[in-house]
């Protein structure tokens, strides 16, 4: 084909294509049914996301330690913890195997990578930056698996952490996080563990409501607290009922003993917090009743 018709053909293709592109693009971008939440490779809330979320706890610890440590030249937190743990795991003095030696070499290299050799202390701006990175990673881990107990609680802790600014009020972000978590976890019918995460979120809301009572004009009424307490009870009952189903279907056997023990421990812990929260609600209700009659008159 001679150059001119070839160029004309190419230009025609581009023109016709651009027309079809523009013509079909508008209805597609305007159609809300085709709008899918941004989720690269569908990883968030997927079975792989749940595993990555667990694996992310290590890097988060590194950033958190670096961001909160006040140490100057060395990284005391990690360098001291490692030697203490070793005698406990290997009580009998045996010559270390090749694997163990390789493992210790790798962990020492790991520590060397994180070791701060700068004689000056980390600046406040750097520490704040590292804490922010830890928060971003916590949020990412939470997005990967919002029903993970550790992910949710770590992020909640970070949002309400005093070092980032004292926030005694029920802050919108922490409250929204808790509400979103409860909503997501209560949709999970096939696993009892999200119910525990939802229960933890309910205790966090209660805690923030109790903190709000310290303000001169509290925003939350005892009735709202009672409602939150009944939501907490619902979450715990849901955990118990799905656990029983798992007992019957032998689902628990698919989990390691450590993770089963972790669940039992969390259940007990939340149970204790629930009892304490009920007492606080009763006390606040009694105080409200004591103050109410003169106010009504």
């Amino acid at each position: 084909m001679s150059p001119l018709p070839s160029i004309v053909l190419s230009t025609g293709l581009i023109g016709a294509g651009a027309l079809a592109w523009a013509f079909a693009g508008r209805p597609l971008t305007a159609n809300p049914d085709l709008d899918v939440p941004l989720n690269p490779l569908g990883i968030n809330r997927s079975p792989y996301g749940e595993v990555f979320a667990m694996a992310m706890q290590g890097p988060i610890d590194t950033f958190y330690d670096a961001g909160t440590s006040s140490a100057g030249p060395s990284h005391e937190h990690t360098t001291q913890a490692a030697p203490e743990e070793k005698p406990a795991t290997t009580p009998e003095p045996e010559p270390p195997s090749l694997n163990a030696r390789l493992g210790s070499l790798l962990s020492s290299l790991d520590e060397a990578c994180e070791l701060r050799t700068n004689p000056n202390r980390a600046s406040e701006a750097l520490k704040r930056h590292l804490r922010r990175q830890a928060e971003d990673k916590l949020r990412f881990a939470y997005q990967l698996d919002p029903s993970h107990y550790g992910n949710y609680n770590s992020l909640h802790f970070f949002l309400t952490e005093p070092e980032l600014g004292t926030r005694p009020e029920l802050t919108p972000s922490a409250a929204k996080l808790a509400e979103d978590t409860i909503q997501y976890c209560l949709k999970q019918d096939d696993d009892p563990r999200p119910a525990l995460t939802a229960a933890a979120a309910a205790t966090n809301i209660l805690h923030l409501m109790f903190s709000d009572q310290l303000n001169a004009t509290p925003k939350y009424s005892p009735a709202q607290m009672r409602q939150c307490l009944s939501l907490l009870d619902h979450c715990l009952a849901r955990f118990t009922s799905i656990s029983l189903e798992w007992d019957q279907t032998k689902h628990w056997d698919l989990l390691s003993p450590q993770r089963i023990a972790e669940c039992a421990e969390r259940f007990q812990f939340i149970g204790k917090i629930r009892d304490a929260a009920e007492k606080t609600v009763l006390r606040i209700e009694a105080e409200a009743r004591a103050h109410q009659p003169p106010a009504d008159i």
Partner: protein
């Protein structure tokens, strides 16, 4: 079709396709073993769907585009293109034959992925299963339509600017169209900007061709009107890229 046969033989000889083929067949069954599906067997099939389609996307975006770019560059650099030109095979014909050769590797991989989804991850409910067929078919055709245009662009750009440019530009366009436009949209939701809005509107929105989440959440087949609009949309982009590729494609580096 001698250049087609030569390109197929060259790609076969390099054997990297075997890694992709193995990954596409094995990973949908192996990856769920390291997911939380081992604790919750209900999640086994969703995990398989994610593994199958994500492996295909990764293999195509990395191996497929790289192979296309390399073949485009080799054709211009080694003198093969010039030789075929003297035997009467036009530049457009050469572009088509190289493109078709690479496409012949990607298409069976896509069909294998759809087959794994169809037979190893289909829903138990018969009503959902009939929609499953349609959705798999829709996904495969949209995927091939998107990949085909980017392969042509990779070959053409590589023939003129080298394989690094051909590969990175096509990969960057694919990543931008799949997820970049989503981030741009999120930015626009926070703060409206007419220039960015225009850019977003006329960006190649390949995200419409990624139906993994529809399979994952068993959302059912796309409505046929939406599917045909998407097909028209991607055909439009295909035509634009085909025109640009024809203009850009060179059978020898110096010309």
């Amino acid at each position: 079709m001698r250049l087609f046969r030569l390109t197929v033989a060259t790609i076969l000889q390099r054997k990297a396709w075997a890694i992709c083929a193995l990954a596409i067949i094995l990973l949908p069954f192996a990856l769920p073993l390291i997911s939380s599906a081992t604790e919750k067997p209900l999640l086994l099939q969703p995990a398989r769907i994610l593994a199958a389609w994500n492996t295909l996307w990764c293999c195509t975006l990395l191996w497929g585009f790289f192979t296309a770019a390399r073949q485009g560059e080799d054709n211009a650099k080694s003198g093969i293109g010039e030789y075929f030109l003297t035997t009467g095979v036009s530049a457009t014909r050469q572009l088509f034959e190289i493109w078709f050769a690479v496409f012949c590797f990607i298409a069976p991989m896509t069909l294998a992925t759809a087959a794994i989804c169809q037979w190893a991850a289909s829903p138990a409910d018969p009503a959902e299963r009939s929609l499953w067929w349609v959705l798999n078919l829709q996904y495969s055709s949209l995927f091939l339509l998107v990949v085909a245009q980017l392969l042509a662009l990779a070959i053409a750009l590589a023939s003129r600017f080298g394989s690094i440019v051909g590969f990175t530009v096509s990969l960057a366009l694919a990543l931008y169209g799949l997820w970049g436009v989503g981030y741009l949209e999120n930015m626009l939701k926070v703060e409206e900007n007419p220039v960015l809005r225009g850019l977003w509107l006329y960006s190649p929105q390949y995200r419409f061709a990624d139906l993994t989440q529809r399979l994952y959440f068993k959302s059912g087949a796309l409505p046929s009107a939406a599917f045909w609009t998407m097909a028209l949309y991607f055909t439009g982009i295909f035509c634009v890229y085909a025109g640009l590729s024809r203009l850009c494609f060179r059978t020898q580096l110096s010309s």
